[in-house]
Symmetry: C3
Subunit: 350 residues, 3 copies
C-alpha cells in the first residue's frame, strides 16, 4: 500500500509543508530512516536526525521551526503521537488469519457463538460459553464453561480462560496469558501444612482492555477480580485474587498486585513494581519501576519510588546521599576525633 | 445449593448464636456482603462491618464479644480461617469438566493410564508416561516420555511437563506452567560464546503441592530439582535447576530461586523475592516481598528484608534513617561549620 | 550406555591418572556422588569431597595436586567446564520424540517445510512460513504467517511465534515462550484513555540463541526487536519492542528490558534486573541481580548494583553504612549534644 504525503496529511488532519506528492510505503524511526518511508519527530533530543533523514516525509509538531533545511516533506499536526497511532492503523496488517471456525476446534453445542467469529485450530470452547460478534480466537485457546466474551475481541494463541470469567468488548489478550486461575489462598493448619481455600469468585475484564503475553489474572476468592475499562497490562504481570484495577490504569511488564488491592484510575505503574495486598491507591498515582508499595496512597497524582515506596523526589534525594554514605561516615568520624582532641587538649589553638 | 445456618455450624463444628434456620446460598466478603450469604470475621479492623452487614450469617471467633447488636446469625468457631477453608469445599464447583478421555487427545499405547481419569482435547501423553487414578488433565497439555503423575492430580490447560519428571498425589498445576525445562547452564568458551551444558536431571514434585499459572520449574543439571510435600507456589515463579524447596514452604508470585539453592521447611517468601544459587535457607525463615537473598541463612524462624537481605527490623530501622539522609547530612555539615568557626575563633563565647 | 574412563578421556582430550577401565554410566555432582558415575571438580571449596567420593572417575584440572589419596580415577583436562559440557552431550537423551510430522498438526499448503523435520500433535504452521532442515517442533506450537525458522532448531511445546518473525539456526526455544507479541505502545488521549499504536515491526532471533520457558519477546513498533547470535535468555524474561541484545549476552530469569534499549555484547545480567527504555549498555557490563538500570552505561566491562544502578563496589560500601545508619545518626546526635553543651558551658574542662 502506497500513499501520497497529501493523502496522509488528510487522514491525520495535518498541513503539508513541501512536496505533497511524495510516495510513502511504510513508517520508519527518526533515528533509522529509509527512503519512501514516513517518520515522526516529537522528542527534541532527536532533532539532529531531521536534517539528515532519508525519509520521504516527517510528521512534526504544528509550530516547530527547523534550524536548518529539511529535504523531506513535513506534515504539521497538533499532536504527533496521536497522529502516529492513527496512521499505524492504516499500515497495520491483520495479526490473525481470516475469520473462520476451524473444523479442528471443539465448540460445545451449548456454547453461544456470535456472527463472523474466528476460532483457530485445536481450541476449545466449553458449555454455556458466550462469544460476541467479530471476535477472533487463535489456536490452542481454552474458553472455560460459562465464560462470557464480548464483541470484537482478539484472543491470541494459547490463552486459557477458566470457567465463568467475563471479558468485555474490544479487548486484546496476548498469547499464553491465563485468566481465572485460582487465587493463592491457603489456611495454615496446626501441623504446619496448608489447607486450600477454594476460590469461588471470577475475573471481570471490562471493555477496551489489553492484556500482555504470559500475564496471569487470578479469580476472586469470593466475588470478582476486576480489570476496569481501558486498562493496559503489559507482559508477565501478576494480578492476584480480588484485585481491582481502575479505568485507564497502565501497568508495565513483570509488575505484581497482591490480593484485594484496589487501584484507582489513570495510575501509571513501571516495570517490576510490587503492590502489597489489601491497600488502596489513589487516582493518577505514578510508581517508578521496581517500587515496592507497602501501604495505601491517598493523595492523587503523586509519584513514588523505593522499597517501601516514599515520594519520588524524596527517594532521589536520599539515594544521592546513600551513595555518599562512606564519605559521610568518614566526615562524622573526623568530627568525633576533633572533638575528642579538643576535649583532651582544651587549650585554644594559636 | 442452599444450607441452613445450623447445617453449616455442624459442618464446621461451631455453635449457633441467633436464628439457626436462616438460609445460605453463597459466601461473601465481610466488607461486601449480600443477602442470603455467609461471611466471616477474623481481622479486628473489619469489626465495624459486623454491625451493618447484609449477610445472613457470620463465622466468628468463639470468644468474640460484639460491641453493638448484630442482626446476622453468628456461628462461633475455634479457628475462623480453617472453618472458612472447610466451608469453601462445600460451595466449590468443579473447575474441570467431567472426567472423560477426549478422542481428540493422543495417548501413546505404551502409556500407563489409571482409572477414572480425564484427558482434555488436544492433549498429548507420551510413551511410558504414568497417570494415577482420578487424575484430571486439561486441554492442550503435554506429558512427556516417562513422566510419572500420581493420583487425584489436577493439571490445567496448557501445562507442559518435559520427559522423565515426577508429580506426586493430590497436586494442582495451573494453566501454562512448565515443568522440567532445561536448567540455565552454559560453559563459557574462549571466544566469548557459550556451550550448552546438557541438562540430564529431572524435576520431582512431591504430594500435595500446588503450582501457579505460568510458573517454571527447571530440571536438574544432574540429579533432581525437588519440590517437597505440601509446598505452595504462586504464579510466574522461577525455580532453577537442582533447587530444593522444603516441606510446606510457601512462595508468593514472581519470586525466583537460583540454581542449587536449598530451602528448608515452612519458609514464607513474599512476592518478587530473589534467592541466589548455591546457598541454604533455614526452616521457618520469612522474606518480605522484593528481598534479594545473597547468602545462606542458618538461624531458624528469622525475618529478612533488603537487597541484600538483612534482618527485617534492622532494615526497617535503617530505611527510616535513609529517608532522612538529606537532613542528616545537613546536620553534619552544620556541625562541621560550627567546629570550623570554633577553631578559627577559639575565644570562648560569652 | 556405559563407557570406560579411558574412552571418556579420549572424548574430552584428557589424560588418565588411575584405572582406565572403570565403567561409567552417568554423571553425578561432586557433593552427591554415586558408584559408577563420573563427577567433576573445579571449585576449590568442594575439595574435601574429592577424598570421600563414591564416583568411579573425576574430571579434574590438569595441574591439580591432591592433598590426600583419591580412590577414583582422575581424568586431567585443561578446562573442566568445557570438558563437562562436551561430555554431557554424550550422556544426553533426546528431549523431543522422534522426528515425524504428526497427521494431527495443521501445516498450510503454502508453508515451506525443510527435510527431516518434526512437527508435534496439535501444532499449526501458517501460510508462507519457512521451517529449516532438521528442525523439531513440539506439540501445541503456533508458527504464524510468514515466520522464518532456520535449521536444527528445537521448539518446545506451547511456544507461540507471531507472524513475520525470524528465528536463526541452532536455536532452542523452551515451552510456552511467546515471540512477536505486540509491543506495549499506546498514545494517551485527552479524555484519559489510550489509543493502541499498532506494532508493525518483527522479532529477529539470530543463530545459536536459547530462550527460556514462558519468556516473552515483543515485536518492534517499527523495525525489528533483535536478539543477536549466541544470546542466552533464561525463563520468564521480558524483552520489549525494538530492544537489541548483543552477541553472547546472557540474561538470568525474570529480568526485563524496556523498549528500544540497546545492549552490547558479552553482557551478564543477573535475575530480576530491570533496564529502562531508550538507553544503551556497553559491552561486557555486569549487573548484579535485582539491579534497576536507569541510564546508559558507556564504560565497558564494569559491574553495577542498586536501584538505580551505581558501580557494584560503591553500592556494597554504601550498603554497609546503610545498615549502620541508626548508629551513625546516634553518633551525630551525640556530637550535636556535646557541641551544644560546650557552647553553653564554654569553660575548658580541667
Amino acid at each position: 500500500m502506497q500513499l501520497k504525503a497529501l493523502q496522509i496529511a488528510q487522514l491525520i488532519k495535518g498541513t503539508v509543508d513541501g512536496d505533497p506528492n511524495v510516495l510513502i510505503s511504510a513508517p520508519s524511526k527518526i533515528d533509522e530512516t529509509y527512503p519512501q518511508t514516513i517518520t515522526f519527530f516529537a522528542n527534541p533530543k532527536f532533532e539532529e536526525h531531521l536534517y539528515q533523514t532519508q525519509a520521504a516525509a516527517i510528521i512534526i509538531p504544528k509550530d516547530f521551526e527547523p534550524k536548518a533545511p529539511i529535504t523531506a516533506t513535513l506534515i504539521r499536526v497538533e499532536d504527533v503521537y496521536s497522529a502516529v497511532a492513527f496512521l499505524f492503523d492504516h499500515f497495520s496488517r491483520k495479526a490473525m488469519p481470516e475469520m473462520t471456525i476451524s473444523p479442528q476446534s471443539v465448540i460445545h453445542p451449548d456454547a453461544n457463538i456470535g456472527k463472523e467469529i474466528g476460532v483457530g485450530h485445536f481450541s476449545v470452547i466449553e458449555k454455556n460459553a458466550t462469544i460476541g460478534n467479530q471476535t477472533a480466537i487463535g489456536t490452542n485457546v481454552y474458553i472455560g464453561e460459562g465464560v462470557k466474551i464480548g464483541k470484537n475481541v482478539l484472543i491470541y494463541s494459547g490463552v486459557k480462560i477458566y470457567h465463568s470469567c467475563e471479558i468485555g468488548d474490544n479487548c486484546i489478550i496476548h498469547a499464553n496469558a491465563v485468566i481465572g486461575s485460582d487465587g493463592f489462598g491457603f489456611a495454615p493448619q496446626e501441623d504446619g501444612t496448608y489447607k486450600k481455600i477454594h476460590q469461588l469468585g471470577i475475573v471481570i475484564v471490562e471493555d477496551d482492555v489489553e492484556i500482555g503475553a504470559n500475564t496471569t489474572i487470578d479469580r476472586g476468592t469470593m466475588g470478582p477480580t476486576v480489570i476496569k475499562k481501558g486498562v493496559k497490562l503489559d507482559n508477565l504481570i501478576q494480578i492476584a485474587h480480588n484485585v481491582e484495577v481502575g479505568e485507564n490504569t497502565v501497568i508495565a511488564a513483570q509488575s505484581g498486585i497482591a490480593g484485594s488491592a484496589k487501584l484507582g484510575k489513570n495510575i501509571r505503574i513501571g516495570g517490576q513494581v510490587a503492590i502489597v495486598g489489601h491497600i488502596s491507591i489513589a487516582d493518577g498515582t505514578q510508581f517508578q519501576g521496581k517500587t515496592g508499595v507497602g501501604s495505601s496512597i491517598t493523595k492523587e497524582n503523586s509519584a513514588w519510588w523505593g522499597i517501601p515506596a516514599i515520594p519520588y523526589m524524596e527517594y532521589m534525594r536520599a539515594y544521592i546521599k546513600f551513595k555518599d554514605l562512606p564519605n559521610i561516615e568518614s566526615r562524622l568520624r573526623l568530627l568525633e576525633k576533633k572533638l575528642e582532641e579538643a576535649n583532651n587538649n582544651p587549650e585554644p589553638k594559636i
